[in-house]
């Protein structure tokens, strides 16, 4: 047998393929999976939220509450808001929460309902309110979110992650803590329906506590006067269409026959303590 050296015609070790085609195919596949997970998580929110016990919620709140409490400074205004809130809860809204008010120094006209009954109120809001009734309405609105558990839904997909992690690894684990720190929990989004429900809740409560509903729409009426939406921060960005909300509230006031009366003034030193907080 004679040996004739020759080069192989084809390379069996390298698959003749277009790498770009591979690249796009795989990327599209990955993207598809991500989208499916995203949609499923969105659906999971509605599945998970009603099943969360207040106990679990409290434990989840324990994950981030220390960093919020660390910034707390005792002030007269905080005491006042806390007492007002407790009064509202005791007399008109028996919710299974131990509410705690945290005042934050910020220009944002905003209040945030965090899991576990922790309500963060920004000083920008405290400076804006003119009467106790108005403040009570805002607090009632946040309590309305608790009543319908919107504050958990509002966190959206992030909350599903936190819950799964809290159940799997416990609330002491570093994974849960890392997750909570990585997610911005104070940024929530609420649907118009959720806002309307919370408004109605607040209106009922105002009527229950004061016997009239004066001051309910004060808060919203301030918005067009200022004519500077940027100044209000994201509270109004996530609470849209204040005109519609005012007219909706007024409709209810009229149809339910709620009375209007004198507003209860804020304590005298409210403005002075403004500089102290």
């Amino acid at each position: 047998m004679k040996y004739t050296p020759r080069q192989p015609e084809s390379n069996v070790n390298v698959t003749p393929t277009s790498p770009l085609r591979d690249f796009f195919l795989l990327t599209a596949g990955l993207l598809g999976i991500v989208i499916v997970i995203y949609i499923l998580l969105g659906l999971a929110v509605d599945l998970v939220v009603p099943r969360i016990s207040t106990d679990l919620e409290k434990r989840i709140a324990g994950l981030f509450i220390r960093s919020i409490e660390a910034k707390d400074t005792a002030s007269e205004r905080e005491n006042y808001v806390q007492l007002l809130l407790e009064d509202l809860q005791e007399r008109c809204a028996k919710l299974p929460y131990l509410f705690k008010v945290h005042i934050r120094q910020a220009s944002a006209v905003n209040a945030v309902a965090l899991p576990g009954g922790h309500i963060v109120v920004y000083t920008g809001l405290l400076d804006k309110v003119a009467s106790e009734n108005e403040l009570a309405f805002v607090l009632g609105h946040e309590m309305g979110h608790y009543a319908y558990r919107d504050h958990l839904r509002g966190m959206g997909r992030a909350f599903v992650f936190i819950t799964i992690s809290a159940l799997l690894f416990g609330t002491d684990s570093n994974i849960s803590k890392m997750l909570v720190h990585g997610l911005n929990i104070t940024e929530m989004s609420f649907s118009r329906k959720q806002e309307t429900r919370a408004d109605e809740f607040a209106l009922e409560m105002l009527n229950c506590d004061y016997g009239h509903v004066a001051g309910a729409v004060d808060f919203f009426e301030k918005i067009p006067k200022e004519q500077d939406p940027g100044k209000f921060g994201h509270y109004f960005a996530s609470h849209p269409e204040s005109h519609k909300r005012i007219s909706h509230l007024e409709d209810i006031i009229r149809s339910r026959g709620f009375k209007l009366a004198e507003r209860t003034p804020l304590p005298e030193n409210w403005r002075q303590s403004k500089n102290l907080t």
Binding site: P5, P19, D22, G29
Partner: protein
């Protein structure tokens, strides 16, 4: 957004430059393989040839290190998710092996035949033995023999 831009830039640089480099390398491999056609490199361990006619027998080796480009690495990491043949690495290993063989033949000079040829591969670089492949080394070695007719 900036991160994504950076990433896409790396990927496209990896793809364009990597493809050009690979084509050029394959061209050179083909040419040199043709040049060395007369020198067979075989895996047999023993040669049945009269001892007095074996003029010399010595170790020859050649090695080549080929780096992976960003595009191939990304493609392979996508493959890691879905499974299947990692086609993007195939040409890399093929090039390294053939280049190593060619260098070994170059070292052999005017030898008649290279016997007992072995090829080995290893990964080198920061990421070796860890998650990703940094560089790939192929080393080919054998015994180059000069035989008298």
């Amino acid at each position: 957004m900036n991160n994504l831009l950076f990433f896409l830039t790396l990927i496209s640089i990896g793809f364009v430059v990597g493809t050009i480099a690979e084509k050029r390398h394959y061209r050179s491999i083909h040419e040199r393989e043709k040049k060395f056609l007369h020198l067979p490199a075989v895996t047999v361990k023993t040669v049945h040839y009269p001892d007095e006619k074996v003029k010399s027998a010595e170790l020859v080796c050649g090695s080549a290190v080929i780096s992976i480009d960003y595009f191939k690495r990304f493609l392979a990491s996508l493959r890691n998710i879905f499974g299947g043949t990692v086609k993007s690495y195939e040409s890399l290993i093929d090039r390294a092996r053939r280049e190593a063989l060619l260098r070994m033949k170059e070292m052999a000079g005017d030898a008649t035949v290279i016997v007992n040829v072995r090829i080995e591969t290893s990964t080198i670089g920061k990421k070796a033995n860890k998650k990703g492949v940094g560089c790939l080394e192929a080393i080919a070695y054998g015994t180059a023999m000069i035989l008298e007719k």
